[in-house]
Symmetry: C2
Subunit: 481 residues, 2 copies
């Protein structure tokens, strides 16, 4: 959505501060000048003394990011030209080839695709028809990994339940029916349980297929896809999402005592694993090039919309951060490595392959960052690491207070899902935190398109990622691990 006047205003102030920092501090380039400038702007907490030396470089990065068109234009070209990029699709491979070419043109180091074998699920045609009490089509979106139905479809009476507990309470009515989990949205983490495990619980109870109300706080008769799981030893039943509106319709019909009969058709099929690639590019460090800070997003998406928020924006912001560090010739002590992961959505095979292929150098990873909650106005970072590293990272965050993107909170989760394996290996991780209250309105739908993002907010994300990865890579002593 277009941004309101508030965020535009904040942006202007942020841009102005960035410019002041950049102009005022580049000339003097001394801690003293930095401190004087900061005295004039008492609202901004001063960075610890050992970080103040980075104010000029951070100012230059912010200025370069907020005055650039290239990154956002490339984001639109990626989304418009290749569209959605599901693992195994030619769209994804086309996007990877294009990105590798552009990164080489930017003069980044060691640009390459690192092989990853990914699941290859293909949706095919699909439909849900209400047959009784009235005939009408219902919007449907199969969940990723679901099996299909027989070609003639499955015709069955529907049973609407609220959640797993309600399913248990009505267990005697489930056999031979299609179950609809009409669970209202609370938070994403709590609500996706029916999406992830609905087919398992439905099959356990004897259902022939499983439907869920789309996981979203808002709907325009919109269907949301997403990941799901089967369990060994249980029948694999088709599993799909319908809109909030249609779930409410079917609920009302059941409450009125009208028997509800539907026909579900899905051609969904899982093909043999396909070859894909994590996209990697670097700005090599000037002193210790084998030590590195990783900055990332994921390039794959679901097979609807453009995957603009989820997560072309994160990839492009990480890439653009590295490009600007390179362009400003801010070669840090250690390497900044951009990774655009594949297969975040349905398998984390990119993250797993990276972990396996780079196991010899995981201890050289000082910090890993991801942006995967939409490139909206950045607020700061969530951090997972030890206390000593936490203290250092907060100092680094204070360098971003000029654009109000410097708040470091404890804990990194959903926005850094690809970094899970690195975190397990002891690498401190961070997720970019953003002001995107409508993110889950669009998530995994045909409405996740680039027009929902703004150039100015994207550029602030670039600035935050560039500053954080540059400073972490350049610190005289590496982050405590």
């Amino acid at each position: 959505m277009p941004n309101g006047p508030d965020s535009a205003k904040r942006l202007e102030c942020g841009g102005l501060l960035a410019l002041l920092l950049a102009l005022g501090l580049l000339g003097a380039a001394s801690v003293l000048a930095a401190e004087k400038a900061l005295e004039k702007a008492p609202l901004i907490p001063p960075p610890p003394a050992d970080f103040a030396q980075y104010l000029p470089a951070v100012g230059r990065l912010i200025q370069a990011a907020t005055n650039s068109d290239l990154g956002f234009q490339r984001l639109a070209v990626l989304c418009d030209t290749f569209g959605p990029r599901l693992s195994g699709s030619t769209n994804l491979e086309g996007a990877i080839d294009w990105m590798l070419g552009e990164m080489k043109r930017d003069g980044l180091d060691n640009v390459r695709g690192e092989e990853v074998w990914v699941p290859h699920w293909v949706r095919g045609r699909e439909s849900l028809e209400l047959l009784a009490p009235i005939a009408r089509p219902i919007n449907l979106l199969g969940l990723g990994g679901s099996v299909g139905t027989p070609p003639e479809g499955i015709v069955a009476e529907l049973l609407v339940v609220k959640d797993f507990a309600d399913l248990q309470a009505r267990r005697d009515k489930v056999k031979g029916r299609i179950v609809l989990f009409n669970q209202p949205f609370t938070s994403y983490d709590r609500t996706i349980i029916v999406r992830m495990r609905g087919a398992v619980e439905a099959a356990k109870a004897g259902a022939v297929a499983s439907l869920i109300r789309s996981v979203t706080p808002f709907s325009m008769r919109t269907v949301h896809t997403g990941a799901m799981r089967y369990e060994e030893g249980l029948p694999r039943v088709p599993h799909a999402a319908i809109s909030v509106e249609d779930a409410a319709l079917l609920q009302r019909m059941q409450e009125r005592g009208e028997p509800v009969v539907v026909r579900l058709k899905m051609e969904a099929v899982t093909l043999p694993d396909a070859k894909s690639r994590n996209v990697i590019a670097e700005v090599l460090g000037r002193e210790k090039p084998d030590e590195l800070v990783l900055v990332s997003g994921h390039l794959d998406s679901w097979d609807v919309g453009q995957g603009a928020m989820d997560d072309a924006g994160g990839c492009l912001a990480a890439w653009e951060a590295a490009r600007l560090i390179r362009k400003l010739d801010l070669r840090p002590r250690r390497t900044v490595r951009v990774v655009c992961w594949v297969n975040e959505e349905n398998g984390f095979r990119g993250a797993r392959a990276y972990q396996a292929d780079h196991r010899q150098e995981l201890d050289k990873h000082l910090l890993a960052i991801e942006s995967d909650e939409g490139v909206f106005r950045p607020l700061g970072f969530g951090f997972s690491g030890n206390d000593a590293a936490w203290a250092r990272v907060r100092g680094m965050g204070s360098l971003l207070s000029g654009i109000q993107a410097g708040e470091i909170t404890r804990g990194a989760g959903g926005g850094a899902a690809d970094l899970h394996f690195l975190q397990q290996a002891g690498v401190p991780i961070m997720e970019l935190r953003v002001d995107g209250p409508k993110y889950f309105w669009f998530h995994h739908t045909e409405a996740d398109t680039v027009d929902k993002l703004s150039r100015d907010e994207f550029n602030l994300c670039v600035a935050a990622l560039a500053a954080m990865s540059y400073v972490a890579a350049d610190l005289p002593e590496r982050l405590p691990q």
Copy 2:
């Protein structure tokens, strides 16, 4: 949309006040008691002395409306059972038959369908495919009354323009192309000009078809249909709407210099006029049954979604208002006549037929009311009539200050479109004004469904319509005309 905490709170307060009015005033049932009650609530302006006698009746109507489930349940049954109700469709005729049966069951007087011949436009299958620079489907919704394309479709290069002025500026590029009017939403009234006249202007300039960006301030890749016109003596070119997202996509492609080619297929056809009916029911007046107050909504809708906001809600609220007047045995001096118009959306044939068939009694119409902006929390009424009537109507509005629905503003327009012909004949008209800021998000889309409405807000609309029509019908002297 579910309502925020603010409106819920207002609702509770409104309900409480209504209850206090009803309980406190029913017992005493005197002007004195009413005035005392009002003294304790100084925020509510007291009604003029000659209206205070109506406080007990209004209190009873508010109490009955806000404690009822029936109207809202019927609204859901209508929407769920018959779905969208385009003029000429079996859905509309089924809804009319059902409504006539239920109205008779309610004991309303003179329940009947009055014959109206309506246009019969049928959408058929339709599609828009982007062929270059990339291949992808574009969401499409033909505009009501549009001609179709040849069966093989129309393949042409696209020209994106902003508005009619921009079309003129690029006039040399239009010939043989499909024009897309990518006009941003400002207000509904200003933005529908490209929907209404786009095909005319495109044809004048030599285009082979015309597309518009859907008329909406918000989109989830949602397409909005609506009315359009052709002009005698000009080629009739197909005219359809695409989503805001796809309009932005095609605009970006054009700006990048990428030639955009599309294939448009529409089976749309206009069949001979079909027979339909305005639904009419009455509470006959006890003294002057030939004089009447008309309260209305329109029963037809576009052929997508459920037409719940537009305008099943208005019909059901008008009907429920009459049912409650009847149920409480509040037989007014003059008749209250419910009218559920047909063909508001694409021809106003219901309104025209009524005007023609009732021309002998138009001077007996004291006041005509319509609700057609969604049955959200009512704010008051817009009024068109002379100054003397205006003063009286404001007094009547003060009776609704207990539910904060009594503000009377000057002018009735979009929410009383079916009353245009009555207004021309000198009848004072009113539209129900509501707090529905998201109305145009859902308007004429598949997302106009009953789950977006709330029982409590619907019931407040019923209360407002019931009170206003009852009091206007019962006044000792008829409203000045």
